[in-house]
């Protein structure tokens, strides 16, 4: 299968006065064409950092300190700012930022801000640009008349659709969505999820769907990447993670057991004691070992590599290699 994105040994550190915070620490993964990769993790695990790093625009004081991000055979980390802006960002890979729907300029109509964004990236005459905007607004399930409206006249769901349209209209191959449903009500959440699925099929797009919610991921992601403390804990297909057999990494399985279920009566929900480690000073060995219920001696000293334990199923856990 064709890969739209290949990430190898990516490291992103935040350089603070207290030292480097290893927000993303040596991770490698890929995305196939037309596939949605779900990135799950709790707050502070590096998932949002990863998103911005993939556009090679980490938020200061963050810096990409190593690795490769290969899109279309080029390592975009080697490109300069100008090339990135012209050929990569929004052209090949775009992003729906967390809370982007609240950052629409209140003083402009939707059409005006969309036009501005579009023409900043592409030289199009007014007519062409308007056509294209109309097309994408329709594509995300909105009628043309929203274009003349101001952001405050739109509901949260509509604004989120506009933001998604703006991420799409330069026809990228890959769209990163950072918590696109978090601030929305359940019904609207479901509608946005449906929209993303529809777009994926219609346009043969690839998505990276970043969220903290395992349940949402089950609805959208073909493959799920679980992050913990700046590292990948597990990557598996939807079936491997949510199916009968269940995930392999103790973090994933415990997190899954901590997710409340609507249609299943759970006597006592699970939880993971403790809190994620400080990334200024991550623990030696496996980063999860301090909270892991099945920790072994080896976990405390040696860091487990990400290994393919079955087809398309990668796990970084000493326990899981043993089972083989």
């Amino acid at each position: 299968m064709e890969r739209v994105l290949d990430v190898r040994n990516l490291k992103v550190y935040y350089f603070t006065s207290k030292g480097p915070v290893r927000a993303v620490d040596d991770i490698s993964f890929y995305i196939n064409k037309g596939e949605t990769l779900g990135v799950v993790g709790e707050s502070g695990c590096g998932k949002t950092t990863l998103g911005t790093a993939l556009l090679n625009m980490p938020t200061p004081p963050g810096k990409v300190v190593g690795g490769e991000i290969i899109i279309d055979g080029t390592n975009i980390l080697e490109l300069n700012e100008n090339q990135l802006r012209k050929n990569v960002r929004w052209e090949k890979i775009s992003m729906v930022f967390q809370g982007a729907m609240n950052s629409l300029t209140p003083a402009y109509t939707i059409e005006k801000q969309m036009l501005e964004t579009l023409r900043y990236h592409r030289e199009l005459d007014e007519q062409e640009a308007r056509e294209r905007i109309k097309k994408y607004v329709n594509l995300v399930g909105l009628s043309d008349d929203v274009l003349k409206r101001y952001p405050h006249e739109l509901s949260g769901g509509m604004k989120q659709r506009i933001v998604i349209a703006m991420a799409l209209f330069l026809e990228p191959e890959l769209v990163i969505c950072d918590e696109p449903t978090t601030a929305l009500d359940v019904v609207v959440q479901a509608q946005i999820i449906n929209l993303l699925k529809e777009l994926k099929q219609k346009l043969n797009l690839s998505f990276i769907f970043v969220t903290h919610d395992l349940a949402t991921e089950a609805e959208v992601a073909d493959r799920i990447m679980v992050m913990y403390a700046g590292k990948i804990a597990e990557i598996g297909t939807n079936d491997q993670i949510y199916g009968e057999q269940g995930p392999m990494h103790p973090y994933t399985s415990n997190l899954l057991a901590a997710t409340p279920r609507l249609h299943k009566k759970v006597e006592k929900l699970n939880f993971i004691p403790g809190s994620p480690p400080d990334l200024l000073n991550p623990p030696a060995g496996c980063r999860f070992h301090l909270r892991c219920p099945v920790v072994m001696e080896k976990c405390r000293t040696e860091e487990p590599p990400l290994k393919e334990v079955e087809k398309d199923h990668y796990v970084a856990c000493w326990r899981c290699y043993e089972n083989e």
């Binding site: 949605t36 709790e42 707050s43 509901s155 769901g157 509509m158 009500d185 359940v186 019904v187 609207v188 959440q189 479901a190 509608q191 999820i193 449906n194 699925k197 529809e198 903290h212 919610d213 395992l214 349940a215 949402t216 991921e217 089950a218 609805e219 959208v220 992601a221 073909d222 939807n238 079936d239 993670i241 949510y242 199916g243 415990n254 997190l255 899954l256 901590a258 997710t259 409340p260 279920r261 609507l262 249609h263 009566k265 759970v266 006592k268 929900l269 699970n270 939880f271 993971i272 004691p273 809190s275 994620p276």
Partner: protein, 341 residues
Amino acid sequence: MSDVIFELKNVKKWFPARRNLGQLLSGERKWIKAVDGVSLKIKRGEIFGLIGESGCGKTTTGKLIMKLMEPSDGQIIFNGEDVTHLDKERLGQYKRNVQMIFQDPYASMNPRFRAVDVLTEPLEIHGIGKSKAEREELAAKALEAVKLTPPEDFLGRYAHMLSGGQRQRLATARTLILSPDFIVADEPVSMIDLSTRAEILHMMKEVQQSMGLTYLYITHDLSTARYFTDRIAVMYLGKIVEMGYADDLIDKAKHPYTKALISAVCEPVSGKVNQSKEVPIKGEIPSAANIPEGCRFHPRCLYAKPECMQGEDPELQEVENGHYVACIRYKEIEEMGTSWR
């Protein structure tokens, strides 16, 4: 004492809407009906869930109970006593017995306060404890109750030096320190990481059982509500549309709105990637300033009939043991089953 600790009788909270010049001149008044006739009874020792989407009035209901605002109409009865309007002295007494846990524990504590200041503040306000040392001792005990142990490790810390779960424990400790009867918990775990969410819920339940507390649990999250609560009321545009025992309500939902909510919830199970989610509801939630005539849900309801679109809102009626629905067609809808298309 009766087994009903709280009773709301047709409680309303209307806010005046901003008027334009024309409305101002014609003397027309518009109201945002945040809470529009809520009646419910909360039993002593239960956990009562209040569920709804943003803007449905659930938080306003919580604030009315907390006496952070005065209701426009209706009655609030606490322990058999009408507390709708209270004088200063009785208000102080009331606020000792009824406490609140806020959604964002970080925002609910003064960033310049240490844990010890957070915990001794309610004691100072209500004049409990003779000396500072005595109050600090009580604070340490409260920390032990929420399992922030050893307390001396935490008393000196500021909120920003605690993790999300520890913060919510501290916030809970603050509500417990006055040994109240009733606690309003407004989305207490929505800002907390999934891995520790259950831990906080367990802690809250433990405290509830050991101290004989009653909770009003306000949330938008059906899944935790089912897990945590005994009974649930679903609110839509300022009114309760369905109410019942948690399991009943979710497994045998009768109101079309509740059904839509339930079907919209994501579940962590495989095999749903390639199919679209079916959510039996249309349009978006209207503004509380402009509530539709008839059943307020009818513009979004897939089953709406002409009789739903006029007259008064349907009454909340008991249809089964402890299961109340405000829908005139619930029976027909049930018979239709899933063939609603």
